[in-house]
């Protein structure tokens, strides 16, 4: 129980760590936005009366939520080239993660839409709002406000899940730590450092999500 920490050994690899942080952040932010967009479509399609929309949406959601993320990433990265679609590791990571997050965000948003009573929609329409206006002000906005905490947790989980993409060779933060470990044999230091980095990233990301909530929902609803 007497380990000599030598973080100095990692100093030559500062560039790698920073690049890793960059890709992890980029993946998280882009994927959160794309995933939210996919989720919105999926939630609308899932709540649709028409089976032609509802059934494919349900199949997508169930297929993604009941298979491992790692397998989905391997399918995109190693499988799609057989169909002539060759994506770079970081692009494949973004595509795979977006498809994954889209399904979860879709389910969360669907729950939000269901929380809005149909009588409120009818009330909106009878006040003279168009169908689009009703959807925006009466359904979408209150729905997102209601499920915002769940959505925010999902995005934080997304940030943590990006560590899986190193398996397909994308040079994210975890990938860089494994690389540094393979060069310095300082496993404890390498992984302790990125544990701290992930912690800081996650806390910063949570703060960002709270700020967005305050800007969009709290400040706006003030009289």
């Amino acid at each position: 129980m007497n380990y000599n920490f030598r973080f100095n050994a990692l100093l030559p690899y500062t560039g790698e760590i920073l690049r890793g942080v960059g890709l992890t952040l980029q993946l998280t932010l882009l994927t959160a936005v794309i995933g939210l967009a996919i989720g919105l479509f999926v939630a609308l399609a899932s709540s649709s009366e028409r089976a032609a929309l509802r059934v494919p949406a349900r199949i997508y959601v169930e297929a993604i939520r009941n298979t491992p993320l790692l397998v989905q990433l391997f399918l995109v990265f190693f499988g799609l080239p057989s169909l002539g679609i060759r994506l770079d590791a970081s692009v494949a990571a973004m595509v795979g993660l977006s498809i994954n997050v889209g399904a979860y965000a879709g389910e969360i948003l669907r729950a939000g839409f269901q929380s809005v009573r149909s009588s409120q929609v009818e009330a909106g329409r009878s006040l003279g709002l168009t169908a689009g206006q009703t959807f925006r002000h009466v359904v979408l906005f209150p729905a997102i406000k209601a499920i915002y905490p769940a959505l925010a947790s999902q995005f934080v989980l997304l940030l943590l899940a990006t560590s899986v993409v190193s398996s397909i060779g994308a040079a994210d933060l975890f990938h860089q730590a494994a690389f540094i470990d393979s060069r310095t044999y300082r496993s404890f230091e390498s992984y302790a450092l990125i544990t701290l980095a992930y912690l800081i990233l996650t806390l910063a990301f949570r703060a960002l999500l709270s700020a967005i909530y305050w800007l969009v929902f709290v400040r706006r609803s003030r009289p």
């Binding site: 990265f77 190693f78 060759r86 398996s167 397909i168 060779g169 393979s182």
Partner: protein
């Protein structure tokens, strides 16, 4: 105290020397007059020595053993051995010659004698004909898959600083990156490249350049100088006429370079 200790140590060393002292080795003339040579080949090291579907020993070392027996003009008594008993089989006079993908070390050379190298395992970069790369310095935009932290990774990082290296968790994933077309080249051991091509003939894993060679040596009992010299002559001639290189290409997939002799 120290004197006492050194006495014990030398007694132990002496005892060790006595027990590992080789039985009188059969030298070249005894082998020829006996009309048979006992050669050990690996049982579990493809492509050097393993058993085929009909349980017959096959491999580079098996071919080598047959060729040596033929050149000696005697019958071959083939014995399949494992890595652990390569040296003991010779040291206890159960075999005359061991051809078993064996690397030479000073420790092993205390107990047996090594000929000049007859084959080599190599680490290199492999890929299709369409990619014209012959040196590490020529690697720039081409993507090379490698398993992170392996000898190949360390060598490639050092030799080709401008290369676009994709690092994967293990050999299988790096190989998958190549077979799926995600990487244009694969840095691996030559026997792995050969094995992949044998299993999937659609793959093209031609050696682009070799980064490192690990030579393999024939082992003989100590106290058989004429046999050792004859084998060295045989290896030397095989190197010169290209037959050893052809053997290497047949089983390992790469040509044999000029290896330093012992």
């Amino acid at each position: 105290m120290l004197k006492h200790l050194s006495r014990i140590v030398s007694a132990v060393l002496l005892a060790g020397a006595v027990t590992v002292a080789p039985a009188l080795a059969a030298d070249l003339q005894q082998i020829i007059s006996a009309g048979k040579v006992r050669i050990g080949v690996p049982v579990d090291v493809a492509p050097f020595g393993s058993n085929d579907a009909s349980n017959q020993p096959v491999g580079l070392d098996v071919d080598m053993a047959n060729a040596i027996a033929k050149a000696l003009g005697v019958t071959l008594e083939l014995q399949q051995i494992t890595g652990a008993n390569r040296v003991p089989y010779l040291a206890t006079d159960k075999l005359d010659i061991v051809i078993a993908a064996m690397g030479a070390t000073p420790e092993r050379a205390l107990q047996i004698s090594f000929t000049s190298p007859y084959a080599a395992l190599s680490s290199g970069v492999f890929g299709p004909d369409s990619i014209a790369v012959t040196k590490p310095e020529e690697l720039t935009d081409q993507t090379v898959a490698v398993a992170r932290g392996t000898t190949q990774d360390l060598l490639l990082t050092k030799l080709a600083p401008n290369a676009n290296i994709q690092r994967y968790d293990d050999d299988a994933t790096a190989a998958a990156a190549f077979t799926s077309g995600q990487a244009q080249l694969l840095a691996t051991a030559d026997i792995v490249a050969k094995d992949m091509m044998d299993k999937n003939p659609a793959l093209q894993l031609k050696p682009k350049f070799i980064m490192e060679f690990s030579p393999c040596y024939i082992g003989v009992q100590q106290g058989a100088p004429e046999l050792l010299h004859w084998l060295n002559t045989y290896v030397h001639l095989g190197m010169r006429d290209g037959s050893l290189s052809a053997l290497s290409e047949k089983w390992i997939g790469t040509k044999l370079p000029a290896l330093p002799t012992i």
